[in-house]
């Protein structure tokens, strides 16, 4: 079984996620796209774990999940806070931090 298809799939998913981050304006959707990118990298990690014959890749994926979980908790809390004050979930509205 070749691993290349898995990696390619991972790459495609990652790219889609990235483009999603760039094009979507709803903060929650953007966040979902980030999750998609994380998942894509997880797939690659797990695939490489298999290719290399040890579990380090899986451990890495595990840690990615943990971090993703923490990130989602905080990130969504931030989105909620912003939504509460600005009545909007668009990332473009939070653009005060500029020149």
């Amino acid at each position: 079984m070749s691993v290349t298809p898995f990696i390619v799939l991972s790459a495609i998913l990652f790219t889609i996620g990235a483009v999603g981050v760039l094009t979507r304006r709803n903060a929650i959707v953007v966040f979902m796209c980030v999750e998609l990118m994380l998942n894509a990298s997880n797939l690659a990690l797990i695939t490489f774990a298999k290719a290399n014959g040890n579990l380090d890749g899986q451990i890495a994926a595990f840690f990615v999940m943990v971090v993703a979980a923490a990130e989602v908790v905080v990130g969504l809390a931030i989105i909620m806070t912003i939504f509460r004050t600005r009545r909007s979930a668009s990332v473009d509205d939070a653009s005060l931090l500029k020149y």
């Binding site: 981050v21 760039l22 990332v91 473009d92 939070a94 500029k98 020149y99």
Partner: protein, 650 residues
């Protein structure tokens, strides 16, 4: 060609050039140190002591110099007591600095030349200190004046006693500093402050010569002490000796106000009159002559350098005389005369071994009679509320009899009235000049005539004729403390010729200057003397016709000949300096200031500004949209990837 000439000279066994070979100072070490230390300590006490010393400062200052004079006499008698071969005393104090092969010792050299200078400096110095007690009585800063005078005496003594060119430099600049301080003593007057600065700066131009000369000596001989250099000069090429000689001449020109660095001396008359007498007539301005005579072991090996010295001296003596004829300011007239007389000395020292002794002889007699006349002028000014314009004098011989009589002694001495000191010394110089170089000799003769003219003019305008006093001015004789030095100096002016008795001074100086062979004059010396007297008499007569018989206008006439106008303007020396140096210098400075601001700093600040501008432009990229940032992030990642892939594919 010159070098072969010297070889021939040496081969013919002409005269031998004396070396500096000092022997131990022995018991004279104490006075040798004291002679400098007394005025130096005096200066230190007076200048550092502050107002506490105001009450007795002038007395201490005078006592220090009188003590120094006593030491000089002690030394002189000690020197006379020694055999002819032992008349060069050396005393090494300590190593000043030493690097590589070069070691400079602070050492003293006492030989006949220094001995005469010592007597002149401390003797005239002491008299002028005494005079100043009276002259400066009403000045609140009198104590400081004496401090400066003591500093000057100490520095001048260092100059003439040092056994090394660098040591001479120490005294050289020391007297320059004292001169600066004293010219600018009344520094609340802008003209005095400017004059003092001018004197110092022009002297610095001369110092270029001394600095480079020291460098050249080090490169050539590896040493700068008199004894070692004098032992080595015979081995150097004529070109190098000419270079050293010309550099030393440059230094001498600065200090002795010789052409082309003469312009500071007339301005220096801004200083108090005792200063003019001591520094700008008797002692400091003659330091250039001292340097040339002291360096005879250099000049003897370069005819070119000697010729340059003689020519410079001749030019200056004529210039000084010319200026002296046109000035109405009594001090400036005397200053012109000083220039002229120093020109004689420089001319004499440029004539080589035949002239050195006469240069020093004239230096001594001039020191006496010119100090006498300056002090006399000071006395006149003292009596006329510090008026210096001779057109406001007249008929002072009754009001100030002592001043008049002593001044007259100086006058007769300077014009070379037979029997007076100036007659002997100037006559000898003209005679030697005629023998060595007829052109220079004739110029010197002419100068003597002009001297007679302008000095007679001065005498007539000051002491004779009708009163032209300013309203409210009541001339009176000066106090005793001022007239005593006048009398003493007048006596010296009269009797100075005794030094030539039996050719004493020539023989005495021979260990330093060498012994000249008899020069062959086309005519007997007595005829030349008669000729000189005749020329002087012509000058005197002309002055008498122009100024003694006619009314002297109180205001200087404006419709005058070019000669007078040029003389009044000091032969346009200042204008030349302004046009050639000061003006372009100012423009250069202003241009550089602009250049510094616009180009040098502008370049740096421009770079900074353009970087700032770039960041201002780039700031726009920070538009606050997180998606834009993410886009650039992804683009960056894509580029990195692309690079990796391309590199791997390649």
């Amino acid at each position: 060609m010159i070098s072969t000439a010297i070889d021939v000279l040496a081969a013919e066994g002409g005269h031998s050039i004396p070396l500096v070979e000092p022997t131990s100072a022995g018991s004279l070490a104490l006075p040798l140190v004291l002679v400098i230390a007394l005025p130096a300590v005096g200066a230190a006490i007076l200048l550092l002591g502050g107002r506490r010393t105001d009450a007795w400062g002038h007395l201490l200052g005078t006592a220090a110099v009188v003590g120094s004079f006593v030491c000089s006499l002690w030394l002189f008698l000690g020197l006379l007591g020694r055999g002819e071969e032992e008349r060069q005393l050396g005393l090494d104090l300590w190593t000043w600095f030493a690097t590589g092969r070069w070691e400079v010792k602070l050492g003293l050299l006492y030989d006949p030349l220094s001995a005469l200078f010592l007597l002149l400096i401390t003797g005239v110095g002491a008299l002028i200190h005494v005079y100043s007690i009276g002259y400066m009585e009403h000045d609140v800063r009198r104590r400081r004046f004496f401090g400066y005078l003591n500093l000057f005496v100490a520095a001048m003594l260092v100059l003439v006693l040092s056994s090394d060119y660098v040591g001479v430099f120490l005294g050289w600049e020391g007297v320059g500093l004292a001169s600066y301080l004293l010219i600018g003593f009344w520094q609340h007057k802008p003209s005095a402050a400017a004059a003092s600065k001018k004197a110092f700066v022009i002297n610095r131009v001369g110092d270029i010569g001394l600095s480079l000369g020291v460098g050249l000596m080090l490169v050539t001989f590896g040493t700068t002490s008199f004894d070692e250099v004098s032992a080595l000069t015979s081995g150097a090429s004529a070109g190098v000796m000419t270079a050293i000689g010309l550099l030393l001449l440059l230094a001498a020109c600065g200090k002795s106000a010789q052409f082309p660095l003469q312009s500071w001396l007339l301005d220096a008359m801004e200083g108090p009159t005792p200063v003019s007498a001591l520094i700008h007539a008797a002692t400091m301005v003659t330091a250039g002559v001292y340097l040339i005579v002291r360096s005879q072991f250099v000049f003897e090996y370069s005819d070119t350098a000697r010729l340059a010295v003689a020519v410079i001296g001749t030019i200056t003596l004529l210039m000084g005389a010319w200026i002296g004829c046109a000035k109405d300011d009594i001090k400036k007239t005397l200053a012109g005369s000083t220039m002229s007389q120093i020109g004689y000395m420089v001319l004499a020292s440029g004539l080589g071994v035949a002239g050195y002794a006469f240069a020093i002889f004239h230096l001594l007699t001039h020191g006496a009679f010119k100090a006498n006349m300056f002090l006399g002028a000071g006395s006149v000014m003292h009596g006329t509320d510090d008026d210096v314009d001779m057109r406001h004098y007249g008929a002072l011989q009754k009001a100030m009899p002592v001043t008049f009589l002593t001044f007259a002694m100086g006058y007769l001495a300077i014009i070379g009235f037979p029997g007076f000191s100036g007659f002997w010394s100037k006559d000898k110089i003209i005679e030697t000049a005629l023998a060595e170089s007829p052109v220079l000799g004739v110029c010197a003769l002419l100068g003597a005539g002009v001297t007679g003219f302008y000095m007679t003019r001065l005498m007539l305008m000051t002491f004779f004729g009708p009163k032209r006093w300013e309203p409210g001015v009541h001339p009176h004789e000066s106090p005793k403390v001022m007239t005593f030095p006048l009398v003493a100096l007048a006596a010296l002016s009269v009797l100075g010729g005794l030094l030539l008795l039996n050719d004493w001074i020539v023989t005495f100086l021979a260990p330093v200057t060498g012994e000249a062979e008899e020069h062959h004059l086309p005519v007997p010396p007595i005829l030349i003397s008669a000729l000189v007297v005749l020329v002087v008499a012509l000058g005197v007569a002309l002055a008498f016709v122009l100024f003694g018989r006619r009314e002297v206008p109180r205001e200087a006439p404006t419709e005058v000949s070019f000669l007078t106008r040029a003389g009044r303007n000091e032969l346009y020396g200042n204008e030349v300096n302004d046009t050639l140096v000061v003006g372009p210098g100012k423009q250069l400075t202003a241009g550089l200031a602009t250049f510094d601001r616009a180009v040098v700093d502008g370049g740096a600040m421009g770079t900074a500004a353009s970087i700032g501008g770039l960041s201002q432009a780039l700031r726009r990229a920070q538009n606050g949209f997180v998606r834009s940032y993410a886009l650039s992030l992804l683009a960056g990642a894509a580029l990195v990837l692309l690079a990796l892939v391309v590199v791997n594919l390649a």
